[in-house]
């Protein structure tokens, strides 16, 4: 994990609400992010994470609540805030028929850079993301991971104090994912505050100092990873994959002594329970005796997925 976190707060979110007609996308969310921290918003699609990012980067007006970024209120000083934040959107927000260098130069100019300062910054960022040798190739020929790296670099041209990353590793290969993690951690070591949204546990676990868990517009837990996992205690997860799971065996499993929760999603059954290994044989017996054709069954140690199931009764990836 990265550097020690400064105690002073750089982002304050208080009772944030965002409504679209009758739909409430963000419902009374409050949290603070410390200077130099990597802070993660974890939750399934539709949890309200991207809406919060949109509000924090002054793209959306909140319906209610207060957001202060580095001393500036987003309702009053949006322009000041835009100068100190860098935004990496979920989609590849670049121009495919421009080269990487041209894309970066374009965004650099938008942020007010020009001449030698612009060129120096572009070269430094190309070097940072390891794409100097491909800098003059059109982006249309890049792999998904390479585009993601340029997507991140485009948010760093003006050397922002805060970096927002919206689902930074969606659709990338493991090698690019590792490279993105390294880049984020390097930036954080240099003092940059990072806020990332993700529905991938791995992102949150590998990167974040603190994690806020969101579901249906609400913040349901906020702590360090260690602190969050203590909420679930020693629960394990057993995942069962079968073409059809009938109600009978599910009810039988629910009545087993150590079982805490059982969730079903088509042919997937997830069982949260204490001392999973001890109960595994019994669960297999119930399933096979009921004629369930089990394709796979495996056991997992407590992690953020377990926590999410514990808190919401549903799987994070659902």
């Amino acid at each position: 994990m990265a550097v020690a976190v400064n105690s002073d707060v750089i982002i304050t979110v208080e009772n944030l609400v965002k409504r679209y007609n009758s739909h409430t996308a963000v419902d009374g969310v409050s949290f603070e992010i410390n200077r130099g921290e990597i802070f993660g918003l974890l939750g399934p699609n539709g949890a309200g994470k991207s809406t919060i990012i949109s509000i924090l980067c002054c793209l959306l007006e909140p319906t209610r609540g207060r957001v202060v970024i580095d001393g500036s209120d987003i309702r009053k000083n949006a322009n000041n805030i835009k100068k100190i934040i860098g935004v990496v959107p979920q989609e590849i927000s670049l121009y495919p028929t421009l080269t990487a260098r041209e894309n970066l130069a374009f965004y650099g100019k938008i942020y007010g850079l020009s001449g030698r300062a612009l060129n120096t910054r572009v070269e430094a960022l190309l070097d940072m993301v390891g794409l100097t040798d491909r800098a003059d190739d059109l982006l249309v020929g890049y792999s998904g991971g390479m585009k993601r790296r340029i997507n991140i670099a485009a948010a760093l041209l003006h050397e922002p104090r805060i970096l927002y990353l919206d689902e930074p590793t969606t659709g990338v290969d493991p090698q690019s994912r590792r490279r993105i993690y390294d880049t984020i951690q390097d930036l954080n070591r240099q003092g940059m505050t990072v806020l990332l949204t993700t529905h991938q546990m791995e992102d949150a676990e590998k990167l974040c100092h603190r994690i806020a868990i969101m579901d249906k517009g609400k913040l349901i837990a906020l702590d360090t990873q260690k602190g969050l996992l203590e909420l679930v205690g020693k629960s394990d997860l057993i995942h069962v994959l079968a073409p059809e799971i009938l109600p009978g065996p599910v009810e039988s499993i629910k009545r087993m002594p150590n079982v805490q929760k059982v969730s079903l999603d088509e042919g997937n059954m997830t069982i949260q329970l204490l001392r999973g290994r001890e109960s595994l044989v019994g669960i297999i017996d119930i399933l096979t005796s009921s004629g369930t054709q089990v394709e796979s069954i495996y056991i997992k140690e407590p992690d953020l997925e377990t926590l999410f199931l514990h808190l919401t009764g549903t799987m994070l990836r659902g």
Partner: protein, 393 residues
């Protein structure tokens, strides 16, 4: 202001898009060439306008008008000395159009007095009447200079009595207004109309149609793609105003369209001898007005649809309808009256009217003010609605 950064980026992207460049320049050039060469015969055979003239003045200026009409290829001019007989011949549909030059016409013009030229027409031949009206208006515009000059001199209390004095003053005035001291000039009509060739129709016709593809279709799709790709969202999170972002998009579309229309009209001039008229400034003003109006329509389409595919279909439909009704494919004045009425709601019709006024009637800037005014009005309406409904998120 940073809008030029966005405009420059868009232009760089389009310059790399070989298909877009083909559609902007090569395809319209081919269609203009094929249409003009293939359908040339139809124009030479079809456009003949017979007109009867009664010259009750029979003096220098009226005779000049008759000579002017006789020199125009598409007009068959016959003279009649008796006004009542002439009216009867029109009533009996022997002639579709009659011009009556009143007695004292020359003297009125020379003395700076208001005077009228009467045109009597058969209302069933609307298109030919429009052409004749434009021709006579062009000539009237030219001789009106005399009236304006003499009235101006008289307003300063200088008595003018002899014809020599009047001609001397007009000559002096013309020296001062060539080149015009201000951009707007009433001295813009040449003495002869050029021949109405197929290229007088097809060069501006197809140039305007393909301009629409650039501004309405490609323009709207480009904006929606920025939305879909998230680049628009990214720009909004940067320290650049929303007006600058929209301004950049409008500027790039306008520049593309302006260059395209200019190149295509110039192509017609160089390759097919299309006459550009005597007022090049007016031509640029018209090109700018047409491009701005269609750029506005492109922005409106981008705002009213949700996806790039929808923008593509809606734009294609709009451009085809406007081109057919508005006179891109055939002269507006040969359309039936109800289509001409419908055409008033299209950019194409006003653009084509403007191009006829400049490339054929050579009416100069003063002659296209109405068309430019309507196009600017359309532009304001389109931009007004589009910008008020534009959503960045």
């Amino acid at each position: 202001m940073k809008f030029h950064i966005i405009a420059a980026k868009d232009l760089k992207i389009i310059l790399r898009d070989r298909n877009a460049l083909l559609m902007m320049f090569l395809v319209p050039m081919l269609i203009i060439s094929v249409s003009g060469l293939a359908l040339g015969g139809n124009y030479e055979q079809n456009i003949r306008i017979s007109v009867l003239v009664v010259d009750l003045d029979n003096d220098e200026v009226s005779r000049g008008l008759v000579e002017f009409l006789e020199e125009i290829d598409i007009l068959d001019v016959d003279m009649e000395s008796n006004e009542f007989a002439a009216r009867d011949r029109v009533k009996n549909k022997e002639y579709g159009r009659l011009i009556i030059i009143p007695p004292g016409f020359t003297e009125s013009v020379m003395m700076g007095q208001d005077t009228d030229l009467l045109i009597i027409v058969n209302p069933t031949e609307e298109s030919s009447n429009t052409v004749l009206q434009k021709i006579v208006e062009g000539y009237a515009s030219r001789i009106s200079t005399n009236v304006v000059v003499v009235k101006t001199v008289a307003a300063y209390g200088i008595p003018v009595y002899t014809e020599e004095q009047i001609l001397e003053i007009v000559d002096t005035a013309e020296e001062f207004i060539q080149p015009p001291p201000v951009e707007v000039t009433i001295e813009s009509t040449t003495s002869n109309l050029v021949e109405f060739t197929p290229f007088t129709q097809y060069v501006p016709g197809f140039a305007v149609m393909f301009l629409m593809f650039t501004t309405v279709q490609i323009g709207s799709i480009s904006l929606i793609k920025e939305h879909e790709a998230g680049t628009l969202r990214r720009l909004v999170t940067a320290p650049i105003s929303r007006a600058e972002i929209i301004g950049g998009k409008i500027a790039s579309t306008f520049i593309r369209g302006f260059v395209q229309l200019t190149v295509l009209i110039y192509f017609g001039h160089v390759v097919f001898g299309l006459d550009l008229g005597s007022d090049i400034l007016a031509l640029f003003v018209l090109i700018a007005a047409v491009t701005m109006a269609s750029t506005g329509l492109g922005l409106l389409v981008a705002v009213l649809v949700k996806t790039a595919d929808q923008a593509d279909s809606v734009s294609l439909l709009l451009v085809m309808i406007m081109s057919a009704v508005g006179g891109s494919w055939w002269p507006l004045f040969i359309e039936p009256q109800f289509m001409q009425d419908m055409a008033q709601f299209t950019i194409t019709a006003w653009a084509m009217e403007g191009f006829y006024d400049l490339l054929y009637f050579d009416l100069g800037l003063a002659g296209i003010l109405r068309e430019v005014g309507v196009l600017v009005f359309m532009m304001i309406i389109f931009f007004g609605i589009a910008i008020s409904r534009f959503k960045f998120e």
